[in-house]
Point group: C2
Chain length 225, copies 2
DNA sequence: CCAAAAGTGTTCCGTCTACACCCATGG
DNA sequence: CCATGGGTGTAGACGGAACACTTTTGG
């Protein structure tokens, strides 16, 4: 311990992941039963401790990868939760991260292996410690961000229909949108490009499939829903 | 160390305060020369370690109080900075907080005692570690928040003129605003109430003094600049 | 042939923006 | 009496919201 650092105490720092998914036109959250004490058996976000050899952001990436097997996932810091008694066991400060993933990319066997499952956001049970606060805050941030950044694609497959996209926005914002106004706005956005492909899964008539063009987005990242 | 906690490492957690002030129609930041190693003599935000007996928010309040002698100050978490080598001495994770204070409330003797001073935001020097990143992020958040929350009052005395208020917004947003449009909008906001008092300091004619009515704000917190 | 989802424009209204002159007073 | 900052209204542009019918095709 060099210099004045030694005068102070260290604490454990953890990350907790608020993992949003979209399925069946609903926003869902990946949560599981805690498999350790304290709080064993309680519903909880998935998390882990920050190691000495990784940044906090890297710890969040690692934890998400352990759980889902996915890398390069959209993930943003939500906030840091630092109440003294927030963890009933020891003093642990936790940095909450919000991730958006496409449910279809998720390997279902990993899901069982870690004892987690998708739960509808509006049927969320009471969670361990302050995890409900984390979710609330993440949702608030997500609702704000979804209007100014094109992030909703992260909840969908690479190819998606406009109806699907609209349902994502409706699920996040918790309100219905006007179909014509929605499509009008999307049409003005260059980086949401129509492909020649048609999806025949969801309708008899078939719907055009769209794609998020990252290159075009980089050129002109203007976005407003 | 109980259970699985002991398998993991602890780290130091600090708070750093980005303290905004408003004076001479400019946004200013309270910074000082580091008085300890590593980085002694470099410009730096004012910070401190989180103790075992306080939450992270409380640590931020305490650090701000040590520096300014002020309590009940507007302060919000900005983000947590957790790169491995962000602090050249040891592994320290830091939670950045943004505070808004009225420069006039500040006891100048404390300023010298702690070796800090007000520096214009656009003349900000290079700061220790990642503190410039913290400032950038705080400013981004401040600019967003100032449009949807009535927080600019925190930079002014209890009584202020509309011209002063406009200058605050201009300083934060970094752009000039139209006087008539600005006053039109303010007039629609009930909780910014005109008093009978006149300020004769800044103009010969005298300007009406306004006040932020917290009670009215609680009743109807609608705000949009 | 019909149910079910895809696709498509226009009008109206409210909001934001641009803009210039008179007022009151201390020195 | 004049320099200085305080205070006021209107018109035009723009963007957002409301709104209903036609198309396609699998079953």
């Amino acid at each position: 311990m060099t210099g004045y650092y030694g005068l102070h105490s260290k604490v454990w720092v953890a990350v907790d992941c608020i993992i949003f998914g979209f399925d069946n036109n609903k926003l869902k959250l990946l949560i599981g039963r805690r498999q350790m004490d304290p709080g064993r058996g309680e519903w909880s976000l998935y998390g882990g401790f920050v190691g000495v050899d990784e940044s906090v952001d890297e710890a969040a990436d690692r934890v998400l990868f352990e759980l889902t097997g996915l890398k390069h996932i959209y993930m943003k810091q939500v906030a840091t939760f630092g109440a003294i008694d927030r963890d009933p066991g020891e003093r642990v400060i936790s940095v909450a991260y919000c991730a958006l993933i496409n449910v279809k990319d998720y390997d279902t066997s990993l899901l069982e292996e870690h004892g987690v499952e998708w739960v509808e956001l509006d049927k969320l049970p009471h969670l361990y410690s302050d995890h409900n606060d984390m979710v609330r805050k993440a949702l608030t941030l997500l609702r704000r961000r979804v209007k100014t950044e094109p992030i909703s694609f992260n909840l969908l497959p690479d190819l998606f229909t406009l109806t699907q996209l609209q349902h994502v926005y409706e699920a996040i914002l918790g309100e219905e949108l006007d179909k014509r106004n929605f499509r009008k706005r999307i049409k003005q956005i260059d980086f949401i490009e129509k492909t020649e492909l048609i999806d025949k899964m969801t309708s008899k008539r078939g719907a055009a499939l769209y794609r998020f063009n990252k290159r075009m987005y980089m050129e002109d990242p203007t976005f407003k829903l």
